[in-house]
């Protein structure tokens, strides 16, 4: 074993690891908003990408209007949340339990939002630049901000887990989604529950848009870039909102990292889609569906 093969191995591992954090951060953040709305409310929000778009524009515009970046991001999230709440009250609330109608309606919404953005703000925006330096090892380096995003993704998952399992809001939200009528009989204002859950999903999408503003070129098409990523992760993750998103993000992130290392980022992206297709074949209910089956079987064996 020659002396310089060891640093080489470390280099490879590190590079794949960095690649993984990028991918994981992107996948998880792109997905959570969609996953909360789909998992909790059974609505496939095809305007999810455009909520991200609103978050990104809110951030970009208020940044160029003179706000410091963190405040601009908060503004982006706030604007998205308000838009989400208004849309829930006026459009979405009529579509609960109507999967196809809700898809058509949210698809329509997404087109409207894209065109409005084009009309109001044109086809391009000024970049928001952020320099946080980079972490490097040998010839390879990774932007610090990209790593920070992966950390934020983990924090978001943890906070959501806490909200849904440890708070009264989370308990009522889960009860409402399981059986709205009984929840109402228990004194829960289910209408408000739907509104708040949808608002939360919109806020998370807005957060994603805000966070990726410095890392992406913000234009009216930005939403569709995230939408594919997020759908693939939801499909692979399955019905359980948080565990599904985490495991889906981890699995696809690993695949992306491996193949990006082998053949570049384009190959990585292709392999994500292929992995998703294979995943649908072997586990139509996603990873969490598979886990649930497995748990059931074990219980029956007992």
């Amino acid at each position: 074993m020659s002396t310089d093969t060891i640093p080489d191995a470390v280099y490879v591992v590190l590079r794949i690891f960095f690649e993984f954090t990028h991918s994981f951060g992107l996948l998880v953040l792109a997905t959570v908003g969609l996953a909360v709305i789909f998992g909790m409310m059974g609505i496939i929000n095809l305007a999810h990408g455009e909520f991200i778009l609103i978050g990104a524009y809110g951030t970009t515009l208020s940044f160029h209007a003179g706000l410091p970046l963190p405040l601009a991001m908060v503004t982006g999230v706030a604007v998205t949340t308000v838009v989400g709440l208004i849309l829930e009250r006026t459009v979405i609330r009529h579509l609960y339990d109507r999967l196809l109608d809700s898809m058509v309606a949210t698809f329509g919404l997404s087109l409207v939002i894209i065109q409005l953005t084009r009309i109001l703000f044109g086809n391009t925006t000024n970049n928001v630049s952020l320099s946080m330096g980079s972490i490097s090892y040998g010839p390879y380096s990774s932007g610090t901000y990209r790593i920070l995003l992966a950390v934020i993704a983990l924090v978001v998952l943890a906070v959501l887990y806490w909200v849904f399992t440890r708070t009264k809001f989370g308990l009522r939200a889960r009860a409402t989604m399981q059986d709205a009528e009984t929840a109402r009989a228990m004194g829960v204002n289910t209408d408000r529950m739907y509104m708040l859950t949808f608002g939360l999903g919109a806020a998370l999408a807005g957060l994603t848009g805000a966070l990726f503003t410095p890392a992406f070129t913000v234009d009216p098409e930005i939403g569709s870039e995230f939408l594919v990523e997020s759908f693939v992760t939801v499909v692979v993750g399955g019905p359980s909102v948080l565990i599904g998103t985490s495991l889906g993000g981890a699995l696809l992130g690993t695949i992306d990292a491996m193949f990006t290392w082998i053949g570049g980022s384009f190959l990585g992206e292709i392999m994500i889609l292929i992995a998703a297709i294979i995943a649908i074949r072997i586990m139509p209910e996603g990873i969490t569906g598979l886990l649930e089956d497995w748990r059931q079987k074990r219980r029956e064996d007992e």
Binding site: L85, I86, R89, T90, K168, L171, R172, R174, A175, Q178, D179, E181, T182, A183, R184, A185, M186, G187, V188, N189, D191, R192, M195, R299
Partner: protein, 279 residues
């Protein structure tokens, strides 16, 4: 304690209940029996204010739970706009505009968290829906916690008392409710209603789908709740055993209205009771 005056309910244009007059006193155990589809569940839902009623009213202690004539919700409703405005607009295409405004801006109503009168009354009533309806993917403990929502933060919650009545619930605390047996789910539904220490317990066919020996346990448990906690009980049933053993008196309902009221003597007679049941 609980009273209805000329209560009438329709689903759309189909009348389901008409002219229902019942009255329950503190500490009683009262039954309501009737065949399938005569409106029992509809009646219970109207009693706790889950339905919009079309005629009469329901009162619980001093609170009006439901009133057909009162314009219940907020100022967004057309009825609550000043009479002159309404009569000026009458017959014009925008006569219902204020109402539609309310449709469009329910956000305003949503953001005012004040409990409505019927919600406050419901806080004194524990409801066990037909078919039990526990939340299948919440744990036993979380299901019990849902019983708290009705009393808000003000209530005192008696987990210990519930666990004492139903030790199995404490044993299965962390199990998903959907994996409990039917009888256990029924206990959970009762426990969930008891958590907030209600004055009145409303049960919709508690014996449905529960095996006979457990039905006997259940009957005994409910009597015990009534004795020890002083909880008034109103239950809907089609089960002869439960009607005869649990009720102190019993209303008979048919085609949406009360057709008879049986005291202890007639309740003891099998023939008098089965006449109103599909036995």
């Amino acid at each position: 304690m609980l009273e209805t005056e000329h209560l009438g309910v329709s689903y759309g244009k189909t009348p389901i209940l008409r002219d229902v007059n019942i009255s329950i006193e503190q500490g009683e155990i009262v039954g309501i029996m009737g065949k399938n589809g005569v409106g029992k569940t509809t009646l219970v839902k109207a009693l706790i204010g889950l339905l919009d009623i079309n005629e009469g009213r329901v009162t619980f202690d001093d609170t009006v739970v439901a009133d057909a004539t009162a314009n219940r919700e907020s100022f967004w409703r057309a009825e609550s706009f000043p009479q002159e405005v309404a009569s000026t607009l009458a017959g014009t295409p925008i006569s219902n505009a204020p109402g539609r405004l309310g449709e469009f801006f329910p956000l305003a109503a949503e953001l005012t968290p004040d409990a409505t009168a019927d919600q406050r009354a419901r806080a004194g009533m524990g409801y066990i829906p037909q078919g039990r309806d526990v939340f299948p993917e919440l744990t036993v403990e979380e299901n019990l916690e849902m019983g708290e929502t009705i009393n808000g933060d003000a209530g005192e919650f008696q987990y210990d008392a519930v666990y004492e009545f139903f030790p199995i619930l404490e044993e299965r605390r962390t199990q998903d409710a959907g994996t409990l047996s039917g009888g256990q789910q029924q206990m959970l539904a009762i426990g969930r209603a008891l958590i907030g220490n209600p004055d009145l317990l409303l049960l919709d066919e508690p014996s449905e789908g529960v095996q006979p020996s457990i039905v006997q346990d259940l009957t005994r448990d409910l009597e015990q709740v009534n004795e020890e906690l002083g909880t008034t009980i109103l239950f809907v049933e089609q089960n002869l055993h439960v009607v005869q053993n649990l009720a102190e008196r019993c209303y008979a309902i048919d085609k949406g209205t009360i057709v008879d009221e049986l005291g202890p003597e007639r309740l003891a007679s099998r023939d008098a009771v089965t006449k109103y049941l599909a036995v």
